[in-house]
């Protein structure tokens, strides 16, 4: 039997060895492979979307490597992503970002899922001046901090349901009603993303002079919206807008039907990832869903072809329909690939400047960053659940069909 000091000595030795091994493995380019790093949520409350994120990254890497990788300085390099599980907790995410950069020597970071995680990781990548391209942190505060190394391919979260308000104003005008008379009821989970969505709605409502009658914030522990919906039912609003990830989307559909809360326009985020049309059936009819991307949009690029081609490839490789969370993750990798080629180097500063100068078209939509690092070229999409399917109703330029108004209460 070993005495305790001996065991401790052994442990110390093992740790030192590990550290040395980590130090020697530190290289951003291994042979002809350039390594990107990412902390994604494989466990914890974001594990569904975390997997979407990882799948999106993996598909992009696979496709780019199949097409010969990226050419930098006349040599073709393959891409590889080093993953850690951030357990859906911001503190862990920040820790892992440090580890990726300091121990693993990663010089290019792909984003985590959710604004909360991105908010924790961005200061780290900023500190080490490591370019950080993300497709899943949409909080707008991320882009008011003056970060120079953070870039987002997606529309910020205050745009998610703004168009639902615009659409309601449009419809009201068509029906000869002053948008000013519209009344809004809304409920949001108390997290950075949903509160941004709320901010966007508040701004849009102010623009039209609409009244906000119910404005509830749902704590994350809440699994029942009955109290809020009782209020909504009492004030009879023209719009009901909810943002609370998959839980919020499922609850609002289920409970508005059950409590007979009849509102002409009901809009929510995350209803495609919550699969409301597929699992809730006819009670989901007429609900508006905000989405970053849709396979029916007419965007195209050289890697995947059209948005629809991407969706088909995704489904073939991963056996489930491509959610927008995966599409925006794939687009983040494409930004790196494009920037490497234009920078002609793997030097962080050069790559960072190349990313900042990005102006490209992808299957996911146009990508062009403003000086704060967010993509301002791509609009949001609004679906309506019609006949058990998601139909694009806004922006009107790509609309498949006209908004069905008012939403008919399923009986």
């Amino acid at each position: 039997m070993k005495s305790i000091p001996e065991a401790r000595l052994l442990a110390t030795g093992a740790c030192a060895l590990l550290l040395m091994a980590a130090g020697s493995a530190a290289a951003k380019v291994e042979g002809d492979t350039v390594v990107l790093g990412a902390a994604v949520s494989l466990t914890g409350k974001y594990s569904v979307n975390g997997k979407n994120t990882k799948d999106g990254y993996d598909l992009a890497v696979k496709r780019i490597n199949e097409m010969g990788g990226v050419k930098v300085g006349g040599k073709a390099y393959k891409l590889k992503v080093l993953y850690y599980d951030d357990e859906s907790t911001p503190a862990r995410g920040a820790q892992l970002a440090e580890r990726l950069i300091n121990q693993d020597g990663v010089k290019f970071v792909l984003g985590a899922y959710s604004s909360g995680l991105t908010k924790a990781i961005a200061p780290v990548t900023e500190k080490y001046k490591v370019p950080h391209v993300e497709g899943n942190g949409a909080a707008r505060e991320l882009f008011t901090e003056g970060y120079k190394y953070l870039f987002a391919v997606l529309s910020t979260s205050d745009y998610y349901l703004r168009d639902a308000v615009n659409l309601a104003a449009e419809v009201a005008k068509e029906k000869g009603r002053d948008p000013k008379t519209l009344k809004i009821a809304m409920a949001f989970e108390n997290d950075p993303f949903s509160l941004d969505v709320r901010q966007g709605i508040v701004e849009a409502a102010q623009k039209y002079g609409m009244k906000i009658l119910v404005d509830d914030k749902l704590p994350p522990e809440i699994n029942d919206m009955a109290a809020t919906l009782t209020k909504v039912k009492a004030v009879k609003p023209d719009l009901l807008l909810v943002s609370g990830h998959e839980k919020g989307a499922t609850l609002v559909v289920k409970q508005t039907a059950e409590m007979r809360v009849d509102v002409p326009i009901v809009g929510t985020t995350h209803c495609d990832s919550a699969k409301i049309a597929e699992t809730l059936g006819k009670i989901a009819e007429g609900v508006l869903c905000a989405s970053q991307w849709d396979r029916k949009l007419s965007y195209k690029d050289k890697w995947f072809g059209s948005a629809d081609d991407y969706a088909k490839l995704f489904e073939k490789e991963l056996n489930y329909p491509a959610p927008y969370q995966a599409a925006e993750s794939t687009a983040s990798v494409l930004v790196f690939a494009d920037a490497f080629a234009r920078a002609g180097s793997f030097e962080s500063e050069k790559v960072r400047d190349a990313i900042a100068a990005t102006d490209m078209m992808t299957f996911y939509g146009p990508i062009k960053f403003d000086e704060t690092g967010k993509n301002t070229a791509k609009p949001m999409v609004l679906y309506q659940v019609l006949g058990g399917d998601y139909k694009v109703v806004a922006p009107t330029k790509w609309a498949e069909t006209k908004l069905v108004f008012p939403r008919k209460m399923p009986q």
Binding site: G44, V48, L218, N223, A234, K247, L280
Partner: protein
Amino acid sequence: MDNLRLLFAAPPLSLQLLLDGILIGAIFALAAYGMALVWGVMGLINVAQGELVMLGGYAAYFLYRAGIHPLLGVPVAAVLLFCLGWALYRSVIFRVVDKDLFISILATYGLSILLQQLANGLFGANVRTAESGFGTLVLLGGAVTVAEIKLLSFGAALLTGAALLVFLRRSRMGQAIRATAQNARAARVMGIDTDRVYAWTFGINAAICGASGALVAMTWIVHPYLGLPYTVRSFMIVILAGLGNVVGVLVAALGLGVAENFAGFILGAEYQAAFIFGLLVVILVWRRFSLARQRRYLT
């Protein structure tokens, strides 16, 4: 206080909140029965209570996916969870039964994290729901609605409570459970296999939680992280009602449901959870509750 004014202007709203509160309170009552039973008989506070509810929900969900009506899933979930409870006792709980209360809280807390993460790993973090296909009763010309599933849950909760009482009073095992709760050592001397009694007790607790979970999956949603509020509510109800009182548990649970709904309406949903925790503190102070080891049984 616009919300308060709204409440007075439209009385049906109060009725709606009251009904919703009572009906959801019944589901809380189920998990609280179980907690009171385990606490009273075995002297341990099961922090994994909410996770048992969650697993019951998944059992009902998967049965529903297999084409079995979720209402039939309720007893099946109860039986499945009974087996799980039994297994948990035989593997983990028996080690902490006679230990300090603090150790049992730690052990079951660990268990709750384990079950949560297992569910997340096995079933994914997706939000699921078992469609019961039941409709809604519309009262007062549409001003008040009651989901039929909530009424059924209410009935099921009352039935389970009654069955538990009868079981404890009439059956041999029930008598053994009560004897063990009164004095475990004396019970052992009299030839009662207290180990077996504990296994049964924990199994019954898990079964009750499983039934309530199945009702939760039908009424709302189920996901791996829904447990904690159920644990907290059960704890609160048991503290309020005391350990030896089935009727007290039911009344406390209904009261909590109603209070929660009114708080959500008047203060806004953001304070609904805060209200529960605030109430917990108030009740703890008021009852001058000490987490001393105490054994009592449900009567």
